[in-house]
Symmetry: C2
Subunit: 476 residues, 2 copies
């Protein structure tokens, strides 16, 4: 729960000592606070040949109210911004000296069609990276490789992933670097995702690749006609959200984040956690439902509890670990973990979907784990269940598209919780430091990522796995 090294090296004495000893100095990450402006500072824009997304980016810049500067690679930006009446200057390479001038670097690579056209990416980040301030943001935008008809174009777009991940590892200082692939025709749907990646809400999300697809507006009754019609401060007002495992830790943080965005939260947890669950939900003016999601009658119970008013958002957060090497793992430990972490999610969704309780235009978000991606020693059961969650997201997304329902997963890395506080010190320190932020994440980092996926503006984001890991080294 408490990273004392991070606190120490950011104290005046600790900082001096760390400097003289050459110790790593993790940045105190800027996190979202409702009482502070979410966006500010200057954004530098760069672009490759024939960028397709500058109009959409101009809408974004206008909407979040930041000042922009155009790098020489984005010559089209200044006249475009001027036509829109946006405050815009030119980025001068000579300005590149002191840290801190820029809050974000945005590069539109959508028009790049061949590996020989990648050079402007080098020019832009070469000139601007040193001017990006602490906890700055890097977002590269491209086209989904698999949607490119031409292999040369697919190749060049796929190459962006190596660049974006390398930038995240180089930049340090709490800077995140992410890649957003925008499908042709999905340009008007980028704002919720770009807001997330530019905001302090994504403090611990780096090295990720997200795809934004087109949306069938006919199936999205709750989708306003244009992005400008979203209420960006209370986007979930009037929506109902179920969160499993909501009594404490990451689940309580998720419930809290969704409630802060305006949702009515129905929190579920096991009967033995009833007091904590009641306390959490009372604070949020939500509803507490104490029962075991693994019980055979649970899907019907949840369906019955939600039936009258339905639900818009389902967050499958409940999960357990029972770690042992497989030779020592009992059959019960295997089955219990698979059942709670994976099969119960399947049973609950089937019940809610079959009865139409999860409404059209709804959102399902499941919690996976880096262990589900990379496997882990002593977690054959847990990793199998969390890899299955990835399969669930990938397999269900196309099925749910016709109803405008999205399904996605977050995969937390090392998050500071009561669970991780019990890990032996040496392993805990390795987990904390082996990522681009040199620190563990907070439950709120997972919660804010889920809030973005639950947002009405994220209708084009489905079937994706987003790691909340500070760009952990661990991945395979």
């Amino acid at each position: 729960m408490n990273d004392s090294y991070l606190n120490f090296v950011n104290s005046p004495f600790g900082a001096r000592l760390a400097r003289s000893l050459g110790l790593p100095k993790p940045e105190v990450l800027h996190r979202y606070r409702a009482d502070q402006p979410e966006f500010g500072g200057m954004v530098a824009l760069g672009a490759g040949r024939e960028p397709h997304l500058l109009d959409a980016l101009a809408n974004l810049v206008a909407s979040i109210g930041v000042t922009s500067v155009a790098h020489e690679s984005a010559g089209l930006w200044v006249p475009l911004a001027n036509r829109r009446g946006l405050m815009t200057g030119r980025f001068e390479a000579a300005d590149g000296g002191p840290h801190g001038r820029l809050a974000a670097l945005l590069f539109d690579a959508s028009g790049i069609e061949d590996s020989s056209q990648l050079e402007p990416l080098h020019g832009f980040f070469h000139d601007t990276l040193r001017s990006l301030g602490k906890c700055g943001r890097i977002v590269v935008l491209g086209r989904p490789p698999e949607s490119c008809a031409n292999p040369r174009q697919w190749t060049a777009q796929r190459a962006l992933e190596g660049l974006t991940r390398s930038l995240g590892k180089e930049a340090r200082r709490g800077i995140t670097s992410n890649l957003v692939y925008v499908e042709r025709g999905a340009e008007s749907g980028i704002e919720a995702t770009l807001r997330f990646f530019l905001s302090p809400r994504s403090a611990y999300v780096s090295g990720q690749v997200v795809r934004i697809g087109t949306v069938n507006t006919a199936n999205n009754p709750s989708l306003p006609a244009s992005a400008s019609a979203f209420d960006w401060t209370q986007p979930l007002a009037g929506r109902r959200a179920v969160v499993t495992g909501a009594a404490r830790g990451i689940g309580a943080a998720i419930a809290s984040a969704l409630a802060a965005e305006g949702a009515h939260v129905i929190g579920i947890d096991i009967p033995s956690a009833r007091d904590a669950l009641d306390a959490t939900l009372r604070q949020l003016n939500g509803t507490a439902l104490a029962f075991d999601i693994a019980a055979p009658e649970a899907p019907a119970q949840i369906a019955a509890a939600l039936d009258e008013q339905g639900v818009d958002i389902v967050v499958h957060n409940a999960g357990i670990t029972k770690d042992k090497t497989i030779a020592k793992m009992t059959d019960a430990a295997w089955q219990h973990v698979i059942d709670i972490n994976l099969s119960a999610q399947e049973r609950i969704d089937d019940a809610l979907l079959a009865a139409g309780i999860l409404r059209d235009g709804g959102r399902i978000v499941a919690v996976s784990s880096i262990s589900g991606i990379a496997g882990n020693l002593g977690q054959t059961n847990y990793a199998t269940s969390k890899a299955g969650v990835i399969g669930r997201v990938q397999s269900m997304a196309p099925h749910l598209r016709a109803r405008g329902i999205t399904i996605n997963a977050v995969a937390p890395g090392f998050i500071e919780t009561q669970m991780t506080a019990k890990i032996p010190l040496a392993i805990r320190e390795a987990g904390r430091r082996m990522n681009s932020m040199s620190q563990g994440g907070q439950p709120v980092d997972v919660a804010q990522t889920i809030a973005w996926l639950a947002h009405p503006g994220s209708a084009g984001v489905s079937g994706q796995i987003v790691r909340v890991c500070g760009q952990s080294l661990i991945g395979a």
Copy 2:
């Protein structure tokens, strides 16, 4: 080039010292030697409900001539094996004591259709893992998740990835663990891939997922009517293989491995490496071509040199690094790395494919890198180029299918070469130890992986990225 720690802890004194100090003791990996039998020992078989691949596995077991024992989960195996006249016993859980009895664990999970059916995997590995000897092999077989119509089935099949990776991290002792997804209808095409994963040839390949697809035999003139018709000792006899960057290091190892399998190798390298290139190819009775693959005239030169007899295998191994943080990286360093490592491959393949010089049924193998998957500090240019190689493989595979040509990539992790010998000690040690083998790989490990992908029996393997990294932790 030389891992002195590995040598030391495997000496009698070093082993004693390491044991008393609790130091890690990396296993000396068994590697393929032409003068030693490739397969031996006993293979334990396990299976989930309604396994689809037991017939194909019986063919394999008969072909490689090993003894099998059936775990109780694979009750169908004994009568099947008996009908085939194979030596077969039953695995008894009570036998599970001492290490070393088993050479490989094979589990057929192809019939699993729901997460509630995963339990036999636990039962099998719980019972057998401790009986698997040093440098043993684990292979789990399933169906490609994305080919499953039912989301429940897709989910359960996808879950296998978390299990297989966790087993690799638990098993240690030089044991590899890999997952092979076999498309429906591709059952007869599994032998070359299973031979590779069961053999010492795959010593440094672990934690990987490989898909075997169906093959249009009409487009594969060189494909024999059945797997039993392959010459497993000289599978590349009569074939011609081009290898770029062949003068030394990994390239020379690739040339050597392909020649050992019977191929005539045409090695290419830059004029300044002509002496080393000539020496390497002379040893292999191959052909040396000294020119710069990045030169504008190179594709035409290569095409002209190969034209008369054509070519069956193209290995894009040539690559360079020019590491610097992006703020310090010159434009020339960026462009040169992208051009050699990525664009030159595109130009050469286009020339060979357009003129039909790469024959139908041919093989393209490109060398990517873990940096291309995970990004790397100081390697924005290199990681971008190597991520682009992944895009090239994924985009070209469907285009080449009609001609029976496969395209795949290997992504080496830490391989002991002259290049890695120059890395500072602390970083080199981290790279060496942060994998399930606790050691770096050898050039031959990359070469043998390429030889498998170049094999005529690998016709169903295309569009894949196979890491040769000892299951390195690094992945994102």
